[in-house]
């Protein structure tokens, strides 16, 4: 049996750092006994504290229906080890059957909202929608407040990522099944002009 996953709490004011480098995400949602997971490359931080995020959710998706009904979703940040799964959830519709079951995706419950979190991810943001009907209707754009954040403490702690191997790295989506890994970390100092 695999070890149970560990979700270490991430301080809300630093939770933007889970998303700041632009990784692709999995959006999980649930309502009335139906749950779903979709891939979303178009997610980013919108504010630091209280932390807010943005995500684009197409109007034709089951996720859209569940998020509109429940007012909540989670952003799960997948690693390279589950990139194939990340791509695959983007090719299936939850209307054709539960994708978690179809793909053997294990989950743990979120703490502040009633949605599943996907195991094998590096970080998780629990989000409550701030209703903005114009943005939702015109742009498929959802704004939400982050109500809790978690990370695999082996990969993210004290506000910093420290990937342990290629499989543990977060991923960045381009198109057509093509991704980039998150690459080498480096630090620079401001120039004195």
């Amino acid at each position: 049996m695999p070890n149970p996953i560990t979700l270490a709490p991430v301080e809300l004011a630093k939770s933007y750092r889970l998303l700041n480098h632009g990784p692709t995400t999995l959006v999980t949602s649930a309502h009335n006994g139906v749950r779903n997971v979709m891939a979303a490359a178009w997610a980013m931080p919108l504010d630091f504290d209280p932390p807010k995020v943005l995500v684009v959710v197409d109007s034709r998706t089951l996720t859209r229906e569940l998020v509109e009904a429940s007012g909540v979703f989670a952003l799960n940040i997948p690693t390279r080890a589950i990139a194939e799964t990340t791509l695959t959830v983007g090719t299936l519709s939850g209307r054709d059957g539960d994708k978690f079951d179809a793909l053997g995706l294990a989950t743990v419950p979120a703490r502040t909202i009633d949605v599943p979190l996907v195991e094998g991810c590096a970080g998780w943001l629990e989000c409550r929608v701030i209703p903005e009907p114009h943005n939702e209707k015109r742009y498929d754009l959802f704004i939400a407040e982050v109500t809790a954040a978690w990370a695999d403490p082996a990969l993210f702690s004290n506000g910093r990522w420290h990937f342990t191997d290629a499989g543990s790295k977060t991923v960045h989506y381009l198109a057509g099944g093509a991704f980039f890994e998150t690459g080498d970390a480096f630090t620079v100092e401001p120039k004195q002009p």
Copy 2:
């Protein structure tokens, strides 16, 4: 003398691929003889065709003033070779003097809007603001349509990135001067569940 830079046109319907992997950006703007450049990690695509983008621009910045006055801006996508400059423009205010001059930043004019584009970047998106006063005021969030897109053809062509060395890679910002390079590319196929 360095060679003049080449800006190859990027098909508008594929211009989202310049931003899709979540690189950090430089926002350039100009109005009435004043020009500015700021760093923005919070920029992403919002639609494919016609292409739209989002960017967060703090209300206290000179960039905000210029973008509100002119209704246009450009997103420049810097490479690792200019990461130090990228960090530095985020530590200066254009109100204290022209940052391009202070940092020796060479520019070329955009084609569809009246703003400078920063040389040494890997890609450029010329953007016209779609006025959304509520988003701008409440969230510092600007939505814009992409009116032209360009890339260094040595680094991006046919809708794909092909970085030539570490200095040519795009970069992803974390916090406190810490960045990631864009890492290795890889492709996956959807699973057959």
